[in-house]
Subunit: 419 residues, 2 copies
């Protein structure tokens, strides 16, 4: 089996950790698998490099920032290659450009355009274990970085390009949970989750796997496993939803703290107000999350949306600038909010799930400020102080049933056969 | 004027130092010069990376070691480029491969084969200030490093390839001295020195400029200046000896501590003994310095040579192995020695300099164990305990005259005109 294993910053945070990772890679190789490893920078290396750059310039040049940050993964890749060699494996480090990770010409958040696999394929053919730097690529002769979640994205792209059978994402948690165990003691680890569910979970704040990586995994049909590099626990398999557990209506409860709600009131209908508001915010780099358009008055429109609480002041400034182009009546901002969401592919065929969520929250006397739904999730904006209680009550209502019925899919057994 | 400036590890050892270097580069650029900067890794970065690698493997793979070590200069180059940008200059970092530094396929001590200057030339043409990582290059798609003195070598190679008017080597001393000021209080800074003299001084232990860089500078006729990045002192100009100061017989006194002498006695003449001894030592990686063949007996030859004291045991082991191939009679080793040398291009036309050296040492009752001469230097092996006194007395005898006569060459004035 061809496996791409990706190890995050905590997993390679020290020499001891790198040795442990090398042991794990060796185990897979010795079990007859062909392995490609993708690594992040060691622990806080990236933060430290950012600190150095900021000491010179509060807004350092993005090209130089990428040149600087890309060194972090080069260090961990070279060290891991050495540790593999010590174990008798032909470890060989590859930088982004050496591995043929071609990106668009954007710095700090480049998207991968192509993986030119010649170098990796010859390395594998020569019996080597390629160790690829995550998070970075090349555009022309310029080094680029992929931004947050970049190493996950690299791993999935490499797995897709090499037609790997499996892409294992090693991190410091042992899988994807029904919700955050710090909030709900009874949170359970999921054996499997669909790409779409994972995407909603990831976007909604479950910081296990970056949404970009999940999107690409879905697009290229890469089977993902999220698991811990600190234990031999089986992880969570992320695969295409294949109708295998429609019985499970809700898969998980995701949430996000520190949300602010902004309402723009009295936008004239004839001025393409909504397009102007959100177009202008996007141009100015303000990330908007939930959008709700309230009741339409005769001549004007009201719209509410959420942003991260820390972006509130900036959002208000941007909207103020917009005033010269759009004669809205008023802005209202509310901080101290949070978002709680139930996620599950099973919702599609189970009407009434949203209603049940509202009633669970109502029973808990938790008032709902905004609602947003998609095919596989329902999100409610609530008071921040009531968030934990909301998560607990929803978990109790939707997920505290008997443990998942035994799922014995082929993939799962294959995945763990060598451990 | 086109200038290549090279800054060593101490010169870019902290953010403050990088800012100071940026100021200096900006000064040169603002004076109308076209600048290319070559940087070493920050302070002890390289040592720290070596420590990490050694923690994994005492003899790490050399390819991976190069991949690892090359990150050090990438960090300092990116940070310096940012600092230049803050000063309104278009600083742009180049790794070894981006700058087209092509080396042979050797790790840890690769020699530069070519500098493909397209990228640097377009960068200069675009009005940018290229900041090139020293110490590293590329062979095929593999990153290589140049070994000790590598950044000096990079700077000279880049200066030669770009036909720069001057190559400035910034370090933590303000020039080349007649001898080590820690040993002789009256040591004077030289305004200029010839390549050959510098080479003898460098090889003999004056650690200002690496011999490889000097050799290349001589070969490609690159004018070098050695100066301090910590002051505005004029440095020392290293140029082709142009008969400009034949009046100065001795330019400097170099020395080296911790030398051991090994004598191989009774080597049969008919067995090509000398070739076998030194061929075998070279194959085993033992660096031999001074070689002296003693009086030839009827049927056998005696030879003495010096090695670094720390290499004594290894040298004896290698010679012992050789015994099966060469029936010498005896090995004698003596430790606790040192080498002192007088260096000067003026010796060529001044016979009797060696004799004067011997008489100065004899007057000081310093016994000479071995002598070796070249056209522009005389080296004596003495007792380590007598080294400082030997250096002081030789300096007094050869160099304590009136300060150098005013040298007002065109190069010197051009060199410092923008400071």
């Amino acid at each position: 089996m061809r496996i791409v294993q990706k190890y995050g910053g905590t997993s390679v945070g020290s020499i001891e950790r790198i040795e442990a990772v090398a042991d794990r890679v060796a185990k897979a190789c010795n079990a007859g698998h062909q392995c490609v490893v993708v690594v992040s920078a060691m622990g806080h290396t990236t933060d430290e490099l950012v600190r150095l750059a900021r000491a010179i310039d509060s807004v350092p040049d993005s090209r130089e920032m990428d040149a600087l940050l890309s060194t972090g993964e080069q260090v961990s890749a070279a060290l891991l290659a050495m540790a593999l060699q010590k174990r008798g494996l032909s470890g060989r480090s590859f930088t982004g450009w050496q591995a043929g990770i071609v990106t668009e010409q954007v710095h700090g958040s480049a998207r991968i355009e192509d993986v030119k696999t010649e170098a990796l394929r010859s390395s594998l053919a020569a019996g080597e274990v390629p160790v690829v730097t995550g998070f970075q690529g090349i555009s022309g002769e310029t080094v680029t970085t992929l931004g947050r979640g970049g190493s996950d994205t690299t791993a999935v792209a490499v797995a897709a390009a090499l037609h790997a059978d499996l892409c294992e994402i090693y991190t410091d948690v042992d899988g994807v949970y029904t919700t955050d165990p710090r909030v709900v003691a009874g949170a359970r680890k999921l054996e499997r989750i669909s790409y779409d569910e994972m995407l909603e979970m990831a976007n909604l704040g479950a910081q296990v796997l970056h949404p970009r990586a999940v999107e690409n995994a879905k697009l290229f049909e890469v089977s993902l496993v999220v698991r811990s590099s600190f234990s031999d626990e089986e992880g969570t398999l992320v695969v295409e939803s294949a109708g295998y557990e429609q019985h499970r209506v809700v898969t998980g409860i995701a949430f996000e703290r520190e949300v602010a709600r902004i309402a723009v009131l009295g936008i004239p209908r004839e001025q393409h107000g909504l397009a102007k508001v959100f177009g202008y915010l996007a141009e100015r780099g303000v990330n908007v999350d939930v959008i709700v358009q309230s009741l339409v008055q005769a001549e004007t429109v009201d719209v509410s949306f959420t942003v991260k609480e820390e972006d509130t002041a900036r959002t208000l400034r941007v909207l103020d600038e917009l005033r010269s182009q759009l004669s809205y009546q008023e802005i209202v901002a509310e901080q101290g909010l949070a978002k709680v969401s139930i996620v599950g592919a099973g919702m599609i065929s189970n009407p009434g799930v949203a209603a049940r969520m509202f009633s669970v929250l109502a029973e808990g006397e938790i008032s709902i400020k905004m609602v947003s739904t998609s095919e596989i999730k329902v999100s409610c904006i609530v008071d921040s102080q009531e968030l934990d209680r909301a998560v607990q009550q929803l978990h109790e209502a939707f997920l505290a049933e008997a443990p998942e019925k035994g799922v014995t899919s082929k993939e799962v057994s294959v995945t763990h056969s060598y451990l």
